[in-house]
Symmetry: C2
Subunit: 144 residues, 2 copies
DNA sequence: AATGCTCTTGCGAATTATTTGCAATAAGAA
DNA sequence: TTCTTATTGCAAATAATTCGCAAGAGCATT
C-alpha cells in the first residue's frame, strides 16, 4: 500500500503551495475527497468522505478550505435547491446542470450556443459577464 | 383618500379566495407591498414595506404568506447571491435576471432562443423541464 | 349582528447552513 | 531542531427560515 497520491492531487498541492497556501493533512484529505467524487457533494458529505482519509478533519475546516478553493477557482460552488451548497472540483471543462427533481440526480451538460447567447444578451445590456448560473430542473420523460 | 385597492390586488384577492385562501389584513398588506415593488425585495424588506400598511405584520407571516403565494405560482422566489431569497410578483411575462455584481442591481431580460435551447437540451437528455434558473452576473462595461 | 368552526397570527424558541473567536497545534523556512 | 505564523478543532455566534402554541380573526351560517 503506497502513500502516493494521484497526479491530480499532486498537481493541486503544488499549485496551492506555489501560492503560499500551506498543505495540511486536512486539506489534502479534503482535496482527495473532492477528486474522488464524481457527484456534487455537500460540505457535510465532504466532511464524511475526507474523514475516511484523515479522521481529524472538522466541519469548520471543510468550510474554510472550500472557501479558499472556491476563491482560487479550484472548486465550484453550486446552490441547486436552496438546501445547502454543493461543491465540485473545477478540473472539468465548463458545464451547467440539469437536476432531476424526483431523484436529485445532477446531470452535467454544455451548450456553446447558450453561452454565446448569454454573452450577447449581456453585451446588449452594456455588461460583461463575470459569472453565470444555468440550472434546469426536470422530470424524466416517461410514456406512462 | 379612498381605501380602494388596485385592480391588481383586487384580482389577486379574488383568485386566492376562490381557492379557499382566507384574505387577512396581513396578506393584503403583503400582496400590496409586492405589487408596489418594482424590484426584488427580500423577506425582511417585504416585512418593512407591508408594515407601512399594516403594522401588525410579522416576519413569520411574511414567510408563511410568501410560501403560499410561491406554491400557487403567484410569486416567484429567487436566490441570486446566496444571501437570502428575493421575491417578485409573477404577473409579468417570464424573464431571467442579470445581476450587476458591483451594485446589486437586477436587470430583467428574456431570450426565447435560450428558452428553446434549454428545452432542446432537456429533451435530448430525456427530460421535461419543470423549472429553470438562469442568472448572469456581470459588470457594467466601461471605457476607463 | 351574533355564533362557531377553523384557519391564521405573533411571539419566541427551534432548525439548518455557515462563520468566527480562541487557545492549542502543526507547516515550512532557516 | 527551532521559530514564526498559518491552521485547526471546538464551541459559541450568525443569518435565514421554520415551527409550536395560545390568542385572535375570517367567513359561512344564523
Amino acid at each position: 500500500m503506497s502513500d502516493a497520491e494521484s497526479p491530480l492531487i499532486d498537481d493541486l498541492e503544488h499549485e496551492l503551495r506555489a501560492e503560499g497556501v500551506r498543505i495540511t493533512r486536512q486539506r489534502v484529505a479534503i482535496l482527495s475527497a473532492l477528486a474522488n467524487s464524481g457527484d456534487h457533494p455537500s460540505a457535510e458529505e465532504i466532511l464524511e468522505r475526507s474523514r475516511k482519509q484523515d479522521s481529524s478533519v472538522s466541519l469548520a475546516t471543510v468550510y474554510r478550505t472550500l472557501s479558499i478553493l472556491v476563491d482560487r477557482g479550484t472548486v465550484l460552488r453550486n446552490e441547486f435547491d436552496g438546501t445547502g451548497a454543493r461543491f465540485e472540483l473545477a478540473n472539468k471543462p465548463h458545464h451547467d446542470h440539469l437536476i432531476d427533481v424526483d431523484t436529485g440526480d445532477v446531470i452535467e451538460f454544455t451548450s456553446p450556443r447558450i453561452e454565446e447567447l448569454q454573452a450577447e444578451i449581456a453585451r446588449e445590456l452594456g455588461y460583461d459577464i463575470v459569472d453565470h448560473r444555468l440550472e434546469l430542473y426536470g422530470k424524466l420523460r416517461t410514456r406512462d
